[in-house]
């Protein structure tokens, strides 16, 4: 199913950040959103997922026949949306393993059914998490550590991808996943995403990034450029390369004129 964003306006406090975003992400495609700092990229991903700091003043986000803006955050996740955070928070006292199991069981839960019936069997869960951790080069010991507590930037991002590969979303939003990653970590994380894509070819991915660098490893089918709270340009992968070469200024001039 497509993710369709229509005329989305969102504020933080009294300040309007999103000023009418229109965007469609097709299943089975990788759609990159590029833009300079402050253009509203992270606001877009947080608003789609329902961060309480942002107020939607206008517009809709449709997915699987529902306006997701009307759903609580956890229902959006259960619908298949996943946000890989730019800055994953730490949750002291809650281990990676327990957290992820709670997340998986929440996804598996069915209204009116005992959660003990729908929960993932322990043995299967242990096997799954071990395999996925090995694939991402995450040490076994991380399962018993408190979530993101004292993790390095690269470790946090790997754990984000670990969660993504365990929860198997149908539409993943990756918010500046490349920030704070060195090139080796970037490769591992990208391989993780690509492996997931090859197993779930119908998954849609919205990749939000400032730099073209990440797109060398996660190859986009579509590229949209965001500026001042709107999508101002759309194109194919070649647009990312052009931005890499020429910077954002040429688009700014085209869209807003020289005097802006």
């Amino acid at each position: 199913m497509e993710l369709v964003i229509r005329d989305l306006h969102a504020n933080i406090g009294d300040k309007e950040i999103l000023k009418g975003v229109n965007l469609t992400v097709t299943p089975g495609t990788i759609h990159a959103i590029m833009g300079p700092n402050g253009s509203g990229k992270s606001t877009l991903s947080n608003t789609i997922m329902g961060h309480p700091a942002y107020t939607v003043t206008q517009g809709e986000v449709w997915y699987k026949g529902q306006n997701v803006l009307e759903l609580p955050v956890d229902e959006r996740a259960k619908l298949g949306l996943f946000l890989a955070f730019q800055y994953p928070v730490s949750i002291p006292g809650v281990t990676v393993a327990n957290f992820l199991r709670a997340a998986i069981n929440a996804h598996r839960s069915v209204a009116g059914k005992d959660t003990r019936e729908t929960a993932i069997p322990m043995a299967q869960y242990r096997k799954d998490i071990r395999e996925k951790m090995a694939a991402l080069g995450v040490d076994d010991g991380f399962a018993r550590r408190y979530l993101n507590d004292g993790f390095s930037g690269g470790e946090k991002k790997r754990i984000e991808i670990l969660q993504m590969s365990m929860l198997k979303p149908s539409m993943a939003i990756m918010d500046e996943t490349d920030s704070g990653l060195d090139i080796d970590a970037l490769k591992v994380v990208s391989q993780g995403v690509n492996a997931l894509l090859s197993q779930n070819p119908e998954m849609g991915v919205l990749v939000i990034t400032h730099y073209q660098r990440l797109l060398n490893y996660i190859k986009p089918d579509r590229v949209s450029v965001m500026m001042e709270g709107r999508i101002v340009r759309e194109g194919g992968p070649e647009l990312a390369l052009e931005l890499e070469e020429r910077g954002y200024d040429f688009i700014r001039e085209e869209v807003f004129g020289n005097g802006n």
């Binding site: 329902g50 961060h51 309480p52 609580p72 955070f85 994953p88 928070v89 949750i91 002291p92 809650v94």
Partner: protein, 393 residues
């Protein structure tokens, strides 16, 4: 037919004595009783002392309703304190009142003068008790329990001790715990106030820590309507240490106060305090702490953390930490404090993974307490307390 028991306010100096007790103890009780009568009511602004009125507290000579929750670890002396007075008189005489002074407060004096209940625990020199000892104190015939626990670890001794106040009844509990650690001794002490919801709990707990001795103190306060606990670690010995954690849950109608005092007296003493509080409904919790680094204490390391989570807008927590340093040779002194609602970013993160808000709050709160509850050495007790807290959040 219920016999009407006398109340404490109506007792005379003769009523408090136990005929079979030795003269030194009778005199000790009399001195304490004099202090009860002569000392002023404490000015505790955050504790409503009308909840602890002497005119309401019944007194009886055989109030005991204590029991052991575990086997007695091999080589450790465990018996009611009143029995120890007869069988280990010299030991009791040497240590009774050496940690909790009778003149510490009117209520400490009351405890000294009128205690009938409580335990004596003695670990001989260099004896390492491996299994945890679990003491449970509860209400008996009277509406008041006055209990005194005397815990003595000789040089090099080791013990893991759980002291639990549990059950309904009362509502008045006036308790004192004296913890005496000889040189090089190690005590893992879990003190649990898990009373029923109507109890008024007044406690004094003092640990006196010898040279190179260590106390690992874990306080769990979840029960009672009112709690006023003066808790003190006295790092007397050189190289003595305390690792002190607490988990407090104050729900609807509960007013729970802990006043921890930490005294650095010896040289190269080290303390880590980490006190965690969750308040909910109309619950009210107070941390009224003081760290005192005495003049002779050099190369001191001390660290205090206190964190409070508020689960409802009416719930309240007060934090009044104090630090008084009378030496200019402190190695490290640190303090961190937070107070507020469950973090929005944590909640959003968990919900974004499909976890409903209710469950997310639950996991965050239980995670908050994890490091404290993890130190309860008996699995069944830990699981029970964890489940009790989980059910109340």
């Amino acid at each position: 037919m219920v016999t009407k028991l006398p109340v404490i306010a109506a007792l005379t100096a003769q009523d408090i004595l136990v005929a079979s007790e030795p003269t030194w103890l009778q005199q000790w009780r009399q001195a304490a009783w004099q202090h009860v009568n002569e000392s002023a009511t404490p000015l505790w602004r955050r504790t409503d002392l009308t909840a602890y009125a002497f005119a309401d507290m019944e007194f009886t000579a055989n109030a005991s309703a204590s029991q052991l929750g575990s086997a007695i670890p091999a080589g450790v002396v465990v018996m009611p304190l009143s029995q120890a007075v007869q069988e280990h008189g010299e030991l009791v005489k040497a240590h009774l009142g050496s940690a909790v002074a009778s003149n510490a407060s009117k209520y400490a004096a009351l405890n000294a003068a009128t205690w009938r209940d409580g335990w004596f625990v003695y670990v001989p020199k260099n004896h390492e008790a491996t299994l945890p000892l679990h003491l449970v104190l509860g209400f008996g015939a009277a509406n008041t329990i006055v209990a005194r626990n005397l815990i003595v670890l000789e040089r090099g001794a080791q013990l893991s001790l759980i002291e639990q106040f549990a059950g309904d009844g009362g509502p008045f509990a006036v308790v004192a715990s004296e913890l005496i650690l000889g040189d090089g001794a190690t005590l893992k002490y879990v003190s649990m106030q898990t009373w029923g919801a109507k109890i008024h709990h007044m406690g004094h707990q003092v640990a006196k820590v010898g040279n190179d001795a260590t106390i690992v103190w874990t306080a769990v306060n979840t029960g009672a309507a009112h709690q006023h606990v003066d808790a003190e670690t006295n790092l007397v010995g050189n190289g003595s240490r305390v690792d002190w954690m607490a988990a407090t849950v104050a729900g609807d109608g509960q007013r729970l106060l802990t006043a921890p005092w930490l005294r650095h007296v010896g040289r190269a003493t080290e303390a880590h305090m980490d006190f965690k509080t969750v308040v909910k409904g109309s619950g009210y919790a107070t941390f009224d702490g003081m760290i005192k680094i005495e003049g002779g204490s050099t190369d001191t390391i001390t660290r205090l953390e206190e964190h409070a989570l508020h689960l409802s807008p009416q719930a309240r927590s007060d934090s009044i930490p104090g630090l008084k340093i009378d030496t200019n040779n402190v190695q490290k002194a640190g303090h961190a404090s937070t107070s507020g609602e469950v973090d929005d970013e944590q909640l959003f993160y968990m919900q974004a993974r499909g976890i409903p808000k209710f469950d997310a709050v639950h996991m965050i709160v239980m995670g908050f307490f994890e490091s404290v509850l993890d130190r309860i050495p008996l699995d069944t007790l830990r699981e029970q307390v964890t489940a009790d807290i989980a059910a109340r959040i």
